[in-house]
Symmetry: C2
Subunit: 199 residues, 2 copies
């Protein structure tokens, strides 16, 4: 379970897409959300879109590994799908904020690796937010406040990568993924292999 | 502090040499030893060669970060040099057995990352030991016993890499080194950088 967090506008979405394209065994954890679908989004691919009532039922049923409310919208990670995938040896990428990262780490422990992307400067972050061109000044100001709040939790993550150049940033996050797969406790089959060597 | 351990004959020396050649900021921790110098070895580069009496004095003075006795010879890691190097931001590579790895982990905690190399098979290991051509059957038999004993401690390491092909093995160990450098707690300057972003 690889968590990729960043303040909005730090390039997380691009890095996530490139990782998913480059890594056969990695898939996005698709969150359930109550927020409206945006142009170009696909239900079941980008999010599972649902309403507040159904979301509340899932919270009641403890169906989420983590969930959070952001800008009056709710987002949650469905527990069952992750469990099934992990059991089949698949890796999952999570696009969550620091609270989601914290919840996932608490609930899934050593299965979780968390990476925080930082922008090279606050001016760069603002420029990226503006270049989207879809949001009002008010929304951008809110995002900048929220970005600063997210950045203040940088020390809750296992790894920190500064996204100065997208290629370098991608390489670094991929390096982290590849290294973490080599951790002893993540390599199933080592017990048998070592036993075979010692016979 | 990167520990690279393996049973004798699993290719550790080759991987260590390539890492040192490829990584500017990585240097070998030179051990102090009481064993005789071998042809081609250089005092102060391969080891600091000393006698039993002087080694004993250094143990008494607590000059070693770890030390061990192997085949009636003693090997120790001089504490002062490592401390100075780390303070200057340098990384050190350690060629120690599982006991050395354990001692270093206990004494240096989260500064230490340990990697264990395994041979692809026990037949491969024996072939590599024989191909050196410098040791008697008795010495080889002793090494095989010792190799099995070393392998039995595979689960004391952070990472395990099977050395099936030297190029792949080198890439994997290098990946581990690069990823570990991206760990939050190893990146000095992040505190100031994050503070700057939040202003």
């Amino acid at each position: 379970m690889l968590i990729l967090s960043s303040p909005s506008g730090a390039g997380k979405t691009t890095i996530a897409r490139r990782l998913l394209a480059a890594e056969d065994n990695l898939q996005m954890s698709v969150s359930v959300t109550t927020r409206p679908m945006r142009p170009g989004e696909v239900d079941g691919r980008d999010y599972e879109f649902t309403d507040l009532e159904r979301f509340g039922e899932m919270v009641e049923a403890d169906d989420f590994l983590e969930w959070a409310e952001v800008f009056d919208n709710r987002y949650g990670t469905p527990r069952a799908k992750i469990r099934e995938g992990l059991a089949m040896g698949r890796d999952f990428l999570f696009d969550v904020d620091w609270q989601g990262a914290q919840q996932l780490s608490q609930r899934a422990g050593s299965d979780v690796v968390s990476v925080f992307l930082l922008p090279p400067s606050i001016a760069d972050l603002e420029a990226r937010l503006r270049s989207r061109g879809t949001d009002s000044e008010e929304v951008i100001a809110g995002r900048m406040d929220r970005a600063r709040a997210e950045i203040s939790h940088w020390d809750a993550y296992d790894y920190v990568v500064v996204n100065d150049r997208a290629d370098d940033c991608f390489d670094r996050v991929r390096t982290i993924l590849h290294a973490e797969r080599l951790r002893r406790e993540r390599q199933t089959g080592l017990v048998d292999f070592a036993r075979e060597l010692m016979r």
